[in-house]
Point group: C2
Chain length 350, copies 2
């Protein structure tokens, strides 16, 4: 079996864990009466998106026009570009073509951006800021902005937010409360402006379990794989990690473990609260303390060093950025090679 | 002209600046009597490597067998894999084929790794640690390790080091001193063990200007492009930055500038000493204060916000990791589109 695997470092999916993650969250959303629209920027894989829709998920979230094009080509016909797009002439042509073959929703947070969506065939959701302070208007501004956009001819379906401040120690419950409150305020503002919100969309993996009332849909992404960030935030257990980087021990320099998995396969993400540049799935106390492009130096917390040439499983800090570095997944089930899946939307940044 | 450009975000090369960077460092190495072996992991581009060898550079440094394969296919016949490779059966076959058509040097820092290089047709350099504490043996161990490797049948040409602790404020001169001292100690250790060192190889872009005596070659990489890290360390000026990410202003949310260039095109690198997640070339006081996968939030230090839909030039923190996220460069000269070059070795992590 081993010689069927590609050379390290490579990203491997644990298929039973992936399936369990998909099924668990789909069942949770069903119980809650929430539409689950998974954000596929995490995996960029039509195979995985099919597993999600087979489990009952409805529609997909994407981040860019390029991602929408890839998933539309794979037959997905309900796509929400959850991003405040700026539509120049080229993007306008692409968006118009997309809207001819799929239901396309797009985010906006300014009237200037909304104006450019008019006539493309897409519908739109106004983005509101629920506390992450990245993009989006204040929830109280949702109605006036949506009404002005409607007056220009854009069909506004409702509001969306990303409670990304859930990515902080002890931030998950508060972010979920802010998400629900922001969407409730946005809904009231929309109604006051004469627009009945049909969609109130939120979602992030850390805040998912604490999702409050009032949302019609949620768009988590990372939950399919989980990663070291989710592990450290407490939003998954190590048994729920479905994506690892298989890495080779190349050196014992300085009495430490040096792996061939650097930032060019793991990504360089390290939140201020993270305990290192990644974790080892089978050595929970270990931390990646130095990360170069092709070296990960691991502090094993006193454990004996795995032998030179042996393989270890690294959990990237941030699955989405690790995935975007490789062309394919190696799919494993109980150690057996089940196939290779393309990261079909890798690099689709525009 | 503008409509010939791809949609943002994309990585653009300023060709005259690139040429000037290549020429300046080539002239410096020539004056110093140093062999310049540029590390092409930074650009992964045969076109740029040809510019470097046209300027007089001798041989290339690469990080992986896969990078060596790409550059050998492009006709480069002198390649140093400056990495402590662990050669399993598959890599042994690839390395043996490579060595049949090019001169291949490989690094090692253990006898176990050296043993696996015997019979592949490559020559080797022992890696020594000059203070970066990543991989490599202590310089005093270079001779005994090289002698043991020689006894197994491996031809050892000398020693190499990467003074990566030059990546720190005020660390450049000290790292260069440590580099020279470590290679001098390694050379003495090799001679004592009966091996006359023919190659003593160092190099990093921050330490380059302070390079001490005793090296035979240097392997800087980033100097071709420079980046926000080099700018902040003082090892380049903004006028010497040849690589930028062209990004669109998508939002003015919260009175700040939001760009469509996130970590999926800039990389998530942020050293502890960095002032942000990247800089704007035309707004030197601006800092990227929040970076998501498709959003860069910029603090413009009181400057008026560039208009929605306008394009700004972002300087990534770490050029090598940004380049590894895209399939091609957009090559510009005085604003004219000169062509597109493939990032031919993108993703070649093994």
């Amino acid at each position: 079996m081993v010689d069927q695997l590609p050379p390290t470092p490579f990203l491997a999916i644990d298929l039973p864990v992936l399936q369990a993650n998909i099924d668990r969250v789909a069942a949770w959303a069903d119980e809650r009466g929430l539409r689950l629209r998974p954000h596929v920027k995490t995996h960029k894989s039509p195979e995985i998106a099919h597993m999600q829709t087979d489990a009952g998920d409805q529609g997909l979230g994407v981040a860019t026009v390029g991602e929408a094009e890839v998933f539309a080509q794979s037959g997905f016909d309900d796509l929400f570009i959850a991003y405040p797009l700026w539509v120049d002439d080229l993007r306008r042509r692409r968006l118009t073509r997309l809207a001819e073959r799929a239901t396309i929703r797009v985010g906006f947070d300014s009237l200037e951006a909304a104006e450019r969506l008019v006539g493309t065939g897409v519908t739109a959701l106004v983005e509101v800021d629920s506390g992450h302070h990245r993009s989006g208007v204040a929830p109280t501004e949702a109605g006036p902005l949506a009404a002005a956009a409607s007056a220009l001819g854009l069909e506004v379906l409702g509001a969306f937010t990303f409670p990304g401040h859930s990515y902080a120690p002890d931030g998950r419950e508060a972010a979920a409360r802010h998400e629900a409150a922001a969407l409730a305020t946005a809904a009231a503002s929309l109604r006051e402006a004469g627009i009945e919100p049909r969609v109130l969309s939120g979602g992030s993996t850390p805040s998912l379990a604490a999702t409050g009332d009032g949302l019609t849909e949620t768009r988590p992404g990372v939950y399919v794989f989980n990663d070291a960030q989710q592990w450290e935030l407490g939003s998954c257990t190590p048994e729920e990690v479905a994506l690892t980087c298989h890495a080779t021990v190349v050196s014992h320099a300085g009495g430490r473990l040096v792996l061939d998995s650097g930032s060019k396969v793991l990504g360089a993400d390290r939140a201020a609260w993270a305990s290192g540049f990644g974790r080892l799935l089978d050595h929970p106390d270990a931390r990646i303390v130095v990360l170069s492009e092709h070296h990960a130096v691991v502090d094993l917390a006193g454990e004996a060093l795995p032998a030179l040439g042996s393989t270890v499983r690294v959990v990237p800090n941030h699955a989405c950025n690790a995935v975007n570095l490789v062309d394919e997944y190696v799919v494993l089930a109980d150690g057996r090679l089940e196939g290779r899946w393309a990261v079909a939307a890798r690099g689709m940044n525009s």
